[in-house]
């Protein structure tokens, strides 16, 4: 054994600096959503990156084939867990498209309001988490407080804070509570105030601006080629919003603008999200005006919707109808369809195949994050290692929906 104090040539001891491989994730605090990035560094510049997704894969497309169509709702809750209501509505719309039914107008407005509240939550989580990873903890806490206001509304309406399981084929699980409108009207301005406060704090901060401006750029053409949708696509300057281009529910009746960026960098993505929160507030205000206070939220079709409980308790017809739907599931006609809605991150599509039984034959999800993650490599190669954090934070990758 050599003595420890032996004089060695320094070159032999030195760690080879180029290329150096660094593993970011899957449990890195900035890699929320459990993604692993194997980056190859030359100094602090990234020369090569291997983005590996799939650490949150739960095989739930297969699990959906086990139960009835209604039993899929708890699974879609857990797709994008930052905005579960948008997934609920998206899946309900997909099955309704197969069935060829349209929910009553009151339910459409109700779905829009709940969906937009969820979208606000989703954008706040993303913007807040991104700022937090850059060291700005205060706006994150304020956004979390604002999200709390919205979650209280959700809890009051649906009975759960995050995993609502509130959507149903042909309507919603229950009627809006009597003070639903009042709660939303009280919560939304408070949310706006907190968001404005947090945003002001970030946009006046030079450190934040230096770290997001012109970092993680993406060109319009390449974004379209990669199949990007949602905020990340709009930040590059493409005004594609499913709510505008293919209006569903009652989105064609509201006035709102589509925020678009100019350069597709982190700043544009962050600001597009902030602007979309304000547009969502506009939509919510209009939907609250237009939503009727009375009327059913469920369609009147005994083959799809469970009968009212009083009928189940007291009449044999109601009991039979109830058992048929619970035990066999809703019979969706054989066929296939693709239905797409604007979720928090972009176009959330459901491609569903039915063989005419009460159980889905295939439920395929088109998660917006999956396409977004393809572009990660070109966004971060050539940049610095610390730039990975804001870039990854601003695309809002949600593992639950990406690893479908």
């Amino acid at each position: 054994m050599e003595p420890l104090d032996i004089e060695l040539d320094e070159g032999e001891l030195e760690f080879p600096s180029a290329p150096m491989q660094v593993n970011m994730g899957p449990a890195h605090p900035a890699m929320h959503g459990t993604v692993r990035m194997v980056v190859e560094l030359s100094g602090e510049t990234i020369t090569k990156v291997d983005v590996q997704i799939g650490y949150l894969h739960r095989g739930f497309e297969k699990m959906c084939e086990r139960g009835t169509w209604t039993q899929v709702f708890p699974y879609v809750d857990r797709l994008n867990y930052a905005s579960p209501m948008l997934n609920n509505v998206g899946f309900a719309l997909a099955v309704e498209k197969m069935l060829g039914v349209t929910v009553p107008e009151r339910c459409q407005h109700y779905r829009v309001i709940l969906g937009e509240l969820a979208r606000i939550c989703d954008h706040m989580v993303c913007s807040g988490a991104m700022a937090m990873e850059l060291g700005a903890f205060t706006p994150f806490l304020w956004f979390a407080k604002a999200r709390e206001l919205i979650w209280d509304v959700f809890e009051e309406e649906t009975g759960a804070r995050v995993t609502h399981s509130f959507g149903r084929v042909g309507g919603m699980a229950s009627e809006p509570t009597p003070n639903f409108k009042a709660m939303v009207r009280a919560a939304v301005p408070a949310v706006r105030a907190l968001i404005d406060d947090g945003e002001k704090l970030l946009l006046g901060n030079r450190i934040f601006l230096d770290r997001v401006e012109n970092v993680g750029r993406m060109s319009k053409e390449r974004a379209i080629a990669l199949g990007w949708t949602g905020v990340v696509l709009r930040s590059t300057g493409v005004p594609y919003d499913v709510r505008k281009v293919h209006p569903y529910l009652t989105y064609d009746r509201y006035e709102f603008d589509v925020p678009v960026g100019t350069s597709g960098d982190n700043f544009d993505r962050f600001m597009c999200r902030q602007e979309e929160i304000r547009q969502s507030v506009r939509i919510i205000e209009q939907a609250l005006e237009q939503m009727a206070d009375e009327g059913s939220v469920n369609i009147n079709d005994p083959r799809i919707v469970l009968p009212p409980k009083e009928e189940v308790y007291s009449t044999i017809e109601g009991t039979i109808q109830h058992f048929k739907i619970v035990m066999e599931g809703i019979k969706v006609p054989a066929g296939e369809c693709y239905s797409y809605t604007e979720a928090g991150n972009g176009e959330l599509g459901f491609y569903i195949v039915s063989d005419g039984s009460g159980t889905p034959y295939r439920v395929r999800i088109r998660p917006p994050c999956f396409a977004t993650m393809q572009g990660m490599e070109s966004m971060i190669v050539g940049g610095m290692l610390p730039d990975v954090v804001p870039t990854f934070g601003s695309v809002n990758m949600i593992g639950g929906e990406c690893d479908h």
């Binding site: 139960g67 069935l99 704090l201 569903y248 678009v260 058992f323 619970v326």
Partner: protein, 223 residues
């Protein structure tokens, strides 16, 4: 059912999509100099800080429901302070009872079928020979809910045709120290009461065992 043309998607508006172009950051000299903006930012955070600590200093307590809408701190110091759960809150399950203390459940297996997590296990049983309810209805000899598997979706409550299972206890699962303590069997489920303290249900049907039940009159010898 036939697939018909629906208005699921509507034609896109003819006019171009109204867009709002995001402005680039406004790097004024104050922003570039950092310190003036830092002072302004600190003023904003200090305003929030004093708002948040004011109640604590003055020893005020706010209404836990409405305090979110007011300024100030929103933390609830949980075991001491509790926020009331809303009416629709889906908490731990309970089984409802009839007047004579028997479970309202007739072991129809609707809830265990509707459960997406397959956390309900029921073994239906017939009443003993000579019991007047034999052949009229069944009862669950075993009714077990694994609260660790449960996803609290509320499908079991929706699926129950006799309002026998409810999630209105207003309680969430306690943190036990072993897994088998989360397995709730029927004595535990029957012992829990609704948040209003009652074991009553909204099921208006007169079941055997209720004092209002007219009686089982069918012959059951041949069963």
């Amino acid at each position: 059912m036939t697939v018909s043309q629906t208005s699921w998607t509507k034609p896109a508006p003819r006019s171009p999509v109204p867009t709002k172009v995001i402005a680039r950051p406004n790097r004024t000299p104050q922003v570039q100099a950092y310190v003036p903006e830092w002072l302004k930012g600190t003023a904003v955070t200090m305003r929030h800080f004093f708002e948040n600590t004011k109640e604590r200093m003055l020893g005020q307590k706010r209404d836990p429901v409405l305090e979110n809408f007011e300024g100030g701190i929103t933390t609830i110091e949980y075991p001491e302070e509790r926020r009331p759960y809303p009416d629709r809150f889906r908490g731990l399950h309970r089984l409802t009872m009839r007047d004579d203390g028997s479970p309202r459940c007739v072991a129809c297996l609707c809830c265990s079928t509707a459960c997406p997590a397959q956390c309900i296990h029921i073994e239906p049983a017939e009443y003993a020979e000579g019991d007047e309810r034999r052949g009229y209805e069944r009862y669950p000899s075993v009714f077990v809910i694994d609260e660790l598997r449960c996803v609290f979706c509320g499908f079991c409550v929706e699926a129950c045709p006799c309002d026998a299972i409810r999630m209105d206890t207003g309680m969430h699962p306690a943190a036990y120290d072993s897994r088998d303590q989360f397995i709730y069997d029927s004595p535990i489920l029957l012992s829990m009461v609704g948040r209003d303290g009652s074991r009553k249900t909204e099921n208006a049907r007169h079941e055997p065992g209720d004092s209002t039940h007219p009686g089982v009159t069918r012959k059951h010898e041949a069963h």
